[in-house]
């Protein structure tokens, strides 16, 4: 399935893009992450949470095809 993936904050310094659409073959979030770690070597060293359809999810959550966002630590306020 095709999934839109968004990157924020310091993660964009690794990806050099803020958004991309990838053809994903896996079933779970962690499978998508493995694909991203292969594409962006240093991503694995960074602290981030994953949101699917704008809700934080665990790595064992099933991919639904909704938008995925990789969110580094929050710094609001």
């Amino acid at each position: 399935m095709q999934i839109i993936i968004k990157y924020f904050g310091q993660l964009t310094e690794i990806t050099h893009i803020e958004e991309e659409t990838l053809e994903v073959s896996g079933t779970y979030i962690y499978e998508l992450l493995e694909t991203l770690y292969r594409k962006y070597n240093t991503l694995k060293t960074k602290d981030f949470q994953v949101a699917q359809n704008q809700e934080l999810v665990s790595k064992e959550t099933k991919l639904t095809g909704a938008e995925i966002a990789l969110l580094p630590p929050f710094a609001g306020g």
Binding site: G9, Q10, Q54, P73, F74, G76, G77
Partner: protein, 147 residues
């Protein structure tokens, strides 16, 4: 006074004292209110390894952030007897000494606004996907993390 529609909380750049003053002024017509409480987040000129922060550049996952602000608003109205509540957060560059967050709660009675304001500010810090790039005077940077 809860608003079911998701509002846009974000403003471009610093939140000015004129804007804050005007917000207070607008509440003069709401005469059931007996107490306001206001939190203002200000960009601190932190010194890190001999370099001083001159500004923070804010970005956000805006759709999710506005949804989270909405959830926080709904939950605060459910928990506390508030007459109204306003939240504004900056995006883009805010210089040291300028205001980046303005939270404004109002109630008939004072005790409620003290509790509600702390609840709201802590929830914003923990739950809302906003990111801050701390820019130093020599134009290098590091990424801010809420503690």
């Amino acid at each position: 006074m809860t608003n079911k529609k998701t509002k846009n909380v974000f403003q471009s750049g610093a939140i000015t004292s004129e804007f804050i003053g005007n917000s207070i002024y607008k509440h003069q017509t709401k005469t059931s209110i007996g107490a306001h409480n206001i939190f203002l987040g200000q960009v601190r000129a932190d010194e890190i390894d001999g370099k001083t922060v001159s500004a923070i550049e804010y970005t956000a996952y805006e759709d999710m952030a506005n949804q989270k602000f909405h959830d926080i608003r709904e939950s605060a109205f459910a928990k506390f007897d508030l007459t109204c509540m306003h939240i504004y957060h900056s995006l883009g560059t805010v210089k040291a000494g300028e205001i980046c967050l303005f939270v404004f709660v109002s109630s008939p009675r004072r005790k409620v606004v003290f509790e509600a304001l702390e609840y709201i500010v802590e929830a914003i810090k923990a739950d809302v996907p906003v990111f801050g790039k701390e820019i130093f005077e020599d134009e290098s940077h590091q990424w801010k993390v809420n503690s």
